[in-house]
């Protein structure tokens, strides 16, 4: 009983609870602040790239043949090393890089025969058609 009283008389439980809480809050807010500043710095250092991506995403109009041709040209550059295009991998990479505007491009390419499946069931580029589109634009 006297042990408890010793602690209570000195507001021991309150001090211990509040002390622990404040230390946690302090270090937690510090970790949040560190993350926040990391994001800000990362954004500022890559501002140019981010802004370019956002602008591009806002600007693309796939019904415009020139825009579509530009996208097809970019797609060809991305997949030039593949004979058969690993489409799921490409789309996953595009998502990780924030290039999700490629999704409708790929869909339109498949619809319009720029991207066709071969006899093994894999996607390949119809290079003649693609080059024709790019050449015309």
């Amino acid at each position: 009983m006297s042990i408890l009283q010793n602690i209570q008389n000195a507001n021991g439980f309150e001090i211990a609870f509040l002390g622990t809480l404040i230390v946690f809050l302090c270090l937690f807010s510090l970790s949040v602040a560190v993350n926040f500043f990391h994001t800000i710095i990362f954004f500022l250092e890559n501002k140019h790239t981010f802004i370019q991506k956002i602008k591009k995403q806002a600007k693309i109009n796939l019904s415009e043949e020139s825009d579509f041709a530009d996208m097809v040209k970019q797609f060809m550059l991305f997949v030039e090393k593949y004979d058969e295009i690993p489409l799921p991998k490409f789309l996953r990479n595009a998502r990780e890089m924030g290039l999700t505007y490629f999704y409708p491009v790929v869909a339109k390419m498949a619809d319009e025969g720029y991207l066709v499946s071969n006899d093994r069931g894999f996607f390949v580029l119809n290079k003649t058609k693609c080059n024709e589109l790019i050449g015309n634009n």
Partner: protein, 375 residues
């Protein structure tokens, strides 16, 4: 002639020697042995050990030799301890030599540094329960922060009469971290948990490193202004290091200043353990509570890491929790060693430095909070 010889003998240490002084001289020799032969924190234990020898050569009062006499040289040097001058200077040096990169690359590990500070507050409660006054209990509790300078700083503010035993307990247990922590860590973790490998830390930019001490200082000192002398100097030292343009100042802080202050602090704290002041039941209880606080701090760190794992996708090795006690870099080294006992290729040292350095910040904040509650 005979009388003169007799008077001379009466003034010698042999004539004044009591069992207490003898015991303390043995303690001092043991510290020196641990430092030199066992390499346990030699930079601290050798000065403290020799200081214990200096403080326990029995002398007559009035000669101005004892550290507790106003006119003695040691008393002037001890001024830096009693007025809390040395600890902030040591923090300046620690800041100038600490690389916070691992902490910045994974800020969530900071919470482990906070969890280990639970040891401070549980020990505070235990000391109150054992009948210590609140100011004494707070100074004893801070031993659980495993940070010698912080313990000395808080004791100098709240319980100057206990600086000796508290400092000796704090530094002794810091030196004994490789013995105290491993059994607790192994007891609380499974082999599978000890085998967890940490994912690679991301690269930290220079801007982040420069911003970190400024943000830490402002945030922590606005929340707990009483931690300003310690956190302020720690952050200032780190800013000098990271700014690169102040390399000369950083170099002085992490070499000359910290070395000089460590010598003065170790020697005078050791010398303050005069047997007639030091050897009493209170000191023994403080030693017991010190060991208890280290154990609790280790337990709370490891258990909190396991709790974090319940919510994390990318699991952390719970051994890292033990590094939350701020004995830098010993507890991080212990984590690495225990991890390698299970898997030679598991390198935990750099990851353990994150909770380790956040423990330094956490214990300084804890000290500030206790000071503000019990001023």
């Amino acid at each position: 002639m005979f009388n003169m010889l007799s008077d001379f003998f009466a003034n010698t240490g042999f004539a004044l020697l009591t069992p207490g002084y003898f015991v303390m001289i043995l303690v001092g020799l043991f510290f020196i042995y641990l430092g030199i032969a066992k390499h346990y924190e030699p930079l601290l234990l050798v000065p403290i050990g020799f200081g214990i020898l200096v403080g326990n050569v029995p002398v007559f009062q009035g000669f101005g030799l004892s550290i507790y006499e106003d006119t003695s040289v040691l008393h002037y040097l001890y001024f830096g301890v009693t007025k809390g001058i040395y600890p902030p200077l040591i923090f300046l040096g620690i800041g100038a030599m600490t690389d916070f990169s691992t902490l910045l690359s994974r800020p969530s590990l900071m919470l482990l540094g906070a969890a280990a500070q639970v040891g401070i507050f549980i020990t505070f409660l235990s000391a109150l329960a054992l009948g210590f006054l609140p100011n004494e209990a707070a100074s004893i509790g801070i031993i659980g922060g495993a940070d010698g300078p912080t313990a000395i700083f808080l004791s100098s503010k709240l319980a100057p009469m206990l600086i000796g035993p508290i400092a000796i307990a704090a530094y002794s247990y810091m030196a004994l971290v490789p013995i105290i922590q491993p059994p607790i860590m192994k007891l609380l973790t499974t082999r599978k948990e000890r085998l967890i490998r940490m994912s690679e830390a991301r690269k930290v930019t220079k801007k982040e490193k420069i911003l970190f001490p400024i943000i830490t200082f402002l945030l922590c000192c606005f929340v707990a202004p009483t931690s300003l002398p310690l956190i302020g100097m720690l952050c200032f030292g780190n800013l000098l290091k990271e700014a690169l343009v102040t390399e000369r100042l950083a170099k002085v802080a992490r070499t000359s200043i910290i070395d000089i202050v460590t010598i003065l602090l170790g020697l005078t704290v050791g010398a303050s353990t005069q047997a007639d002041v030091f050897l009493n039941a209170k000191s023994l209880i403080i030693f017991f509570l010190g060991a208890f606080s280290f154990c609790i701090a280790t337990v709370s760190g490891v258990v909190f890491a396991k709790i974090m794992n319940l919510f994390l996708k990318d699991k952390i090795n719970p051994l890292l929790g033990a590094a939350g006690v701020s004995a830098v870099p010993d507890s991080a080294r212990v984590v690495h060693t225990v991890g390698q006992e299970e898997d030679r290729n598991n390198f935990l040292l750099m990851h353990a430095m994150a909770p380790n350095v956040s423990g330094v910040i956490g214990s300084a904040i804890g000290a500030g909070i206790l000071w503000s509650f019990i001023k």
